[in-house]
Subunit: 225 residues, 2 copies
């Protein structure tokens, strides 16, 4: 392995990508020996990667049978976004009640960083600032379990996102949505804030649906929110 990280981590993200892009088809069996060969590692780290992938839901592990690709269908992907939307809406609702002034400041800075990055056309920075914004909302919910689950779900959706492309000015709209959510939080209107967040996240699923419903295969990724 050229990478300094644990081999299993690397392998995991590689396979994750291959499943997301469709290089590995749904239901396909992943043979340990073959893949170990392909990645130039032994079966041990590979099996570890399988277990992680099972946790992400991209692989099904059947005892004494092996690992099988479980690629989300269009329907399932929409359900994942629906679930994520609800989680984030709940985070916002709780955060609105419990937000400290320090957290509030942090959120505004993250939002402003998003805007700067967008104007500068720096997608990586936008991505990072956006993560900071959402991450702080998870944290500000004050429920550490909810926070973790939100992060986990976000991570599960990651391979189905696209960092690079801004389709139909979605990013511009996202900026406005961020602002609206923060405004509603400032007003202390938790229902409104939650509702806006739900739509903000769920729009992704819909946009996705709208563009790609006709396609048989689930495409590789989704625009970033």
């Amino acid at each position: 392995m050229t990478n300094k990280y644990k081999a299993s981590t690397f392998i995991c993200s590689e396979i994750e990508q291959k499943i997301a892009t469709g290089a590995y088809k749904d239901g396909e069996k992943l043979n340990e020996a073959d893949l170990a060969d392909e990645f130039n590692v032994s079966r041990t780290p590979l099996r570890e990667a399988f277990q992680i992938l099972e946790g992400i839901g991209l692989v099904e592990l059947i005892p004494n049978r092996g690992a099988f690709v479980r690629r989300p269908t269009m329907t399932r992907l929409v359900e994942m976004f629906e679930f994520m939307a609800e989680l984030e809406a709940w985070c916002v609702k709780l955060a609105t009640r419990r937000l400290t002034s320090a957290q509030q400041l942090y959120l505004k800075r993250a939002a402003s960083d998003c805007e700067k990055a967008l104007r500068a056309g720096k997608n990586d920075e936008y991505y990072e600032a956006n993560n900071r914004l959402h991450g702080m909302i998870y944290q500000a919910s004050g429920n550490a379990v909810l926070e973790e689950e939100a992060h986990r779900m976000h991570r599960r959706l990651r391979p189905f996102r696209r960092k690079q492309l801004d389709v139909t000015g979605r990013l511009e709209k996202s900026m406005q949505e961020h602002a609206d959510i923060l405004a509603a939080m400032d007003e202390g209107d938790e229902e409104k804030a939650a509702d806006l967040m739900r739509k903000h996240i769920y729009t992704l699923g819909n946009t996705y649906d709208q563009y790609l419903a006709a396609l048989e295969e689930v495409p590789a990724d989704v625009i970033e929110l």
Copy 2:
């Protein structure tokens, strides 16, 4: 291993129990070689068990450092119940809209089985029927991702439950709550049904809190709902 199952599965539930009961203390390091010795297996299935436990959140895996017990604090346990309550409330809300008559029938039967088991004092049967009831509500939500996450969270809470004991007639109250939830669903009042379910689950956390807040240590388990 005397068991016919995969060793890792067995080991996993053993360690799970030991963490829940406090035999392994929070933050304690789990040494691979020692535990392998203790369970009379090699380190391989043990490492697998660690990974599963990490997914359940009972262990933290630090690369090149090892596995460390992460036993939920009282606060965290309450947060877990809070999260579960919200998940189930959402399930009920969606289920109320989408319930088929077959599913409705299934629910009523499960509820009635709960009652029979309770009267007969058969705790195992109550447990099973109760699971059927809740499981069907997850399924009837129509969102497979939500359904899975509800099951996952239920499983995570399992080691902290107690199947045997009915404290302060909690089970009797649970029966009534089941009936009320189903009634609200029949009426098509999704908000009411969701609210009742939220309280039904969350009561556990509160009951727990009420009884055991004074204790320093998180006790082994919680009454069944």
